[in-house]
Symmetry: C2
Subunit: 130 residues, 2 copies
DNA sequence: GTAACGTACAACCACATGGTTGTAGATCAG
DNA sequence: CTGATCTACAACCATGTGGTTGTACGTTAC
C-alpha cells in the first residue's frame, strides 16, 4: 500500500544492481555502512591494487550507493542506506506484482458469485501434454 | 528476527544482481511473475532478435530467477518469487547492518537475557578486523 | 624543503556481455 | 509428407568490465 515515489531511471536501476553484482563492492558497501573509511583503508582489505579498489568505489559512487567527501588528502567513503532501500523497494514491488497474480483472491472475496478460477492468468488454457 | 539461511554463494549473488541489472530482463521477470509466457511470446515484446531474448532468459535462468519448462515445442518461462525474496533479503540485511551502526538498541531490545555487550560506540571508530 | 602518503587518471590487457545473423533440430498444422 | 513455428546453438562483432602498471599531483609529516 506504500506508494513509493522511486523516480529512478532504468539506467539508474541498471547501475545500482550492476554495482551490487560484485562481491568486493558489496563488501565495500558493508564496511562503509558500518562506518566511514578512506579509499586507502578499504584498499588494504582486498587482494587487489589500490587503483582497482578506486574503480570499485567509483562504480558504487556512480550508482549512488556511496558518496565520497574530501578530508585532507583522504577521500572518505560513506554508504547511502536510502539508495539500498530504493533497490530493496524495487524487489518488493516485484514480489507484490507476483502476489497480484493470485490477488484475484481479493476480487473473489469482493465478488462472491464469481466462479473459482485457476490463477492461470490471461493466457491460453493450460494444456498439459505431459 | 527471522534468521534467513540464504546459503547463497557470492557467485550466485553476483549472478542474481547482474541478471537484474538490465531493463529488458527486469521486464521479463515482471511478465513472467504475472503469468507464464513462452520465449517467443516474450520476444515479440522487445525490439530485438529472438536470440537476444533467448540469451536474456538464459541469464535469468542461470541466476535462478526464472525457470523454463518444455510444453510441446514451446519453452514456458516462469519467474521464481523466492529468488527475488532472497535478493531483497540481502538488501534488508545491509540496511539492518546500517541500523546497527547507531547502537545495539535493537539488539538490546531483541536480546534481553544476553549479557550487556561492551558499548562498541556509535561513533566513527570503525575497526573492522575481518 | 623533502619525503612519504593518498588520490586521480591514463593506458593497456583479458575476458565477459549484449547484440547480430545463420544454421539446424523438434514440433505442430495442413 | 510439407511447411510453418519455436527453440537451440554457434560464430561473429562492438563495447563494457575488472584488473594491472605507470605517472602526476595535492597533502601531511619530518
Amino acid at each position: 500500500m506504500v506508494v513509493d515515489q522511486s523516480s529512478l531511471t532504468d539506467a539508474e536501476v541498471d547501475r545500482i544492481f550492476r554495482a551490487l553484482a560484485d562481491a568486493t563492492r558489496r563488501d565495500i558497501v558493508r564496511r562503509t555502512l558500518l562506518g566511514e573509511a578512506s579509499v586507502s583503508e578499504l584498499a588494504t582489505a582486498y587482494a587487489m591494487s589500490f587503483a582497482a579498489v578506486q574503480k570499485h568505489v567509483a562504480v558504487l559512487e556512480g550508482a549512488g550507493l556511496v558518496t565520497k567527501q574530501a578530508r585532507g588528502r583522504e577521500r572518505i567513503v560513506t554508504a547511502d542506506p536510502d539508495r539500498i532501500a530504493q533497490a530493496r523497494q524495487l524487489l518488493t514491488a516485484l514480489e507484490e506484482l507476483w502476489r497480484a497474480r493470485f490477488g484475484q483472491l481479493d476480487a473473489v472475496l469482493a465478488d462472491p458469485p464469481t466462479a473459482p478460477r485457476s490463477p492461470a492468468g490471461p493466457g491460453p488454457t493450460p494444456d498439459p501434454t505431459t
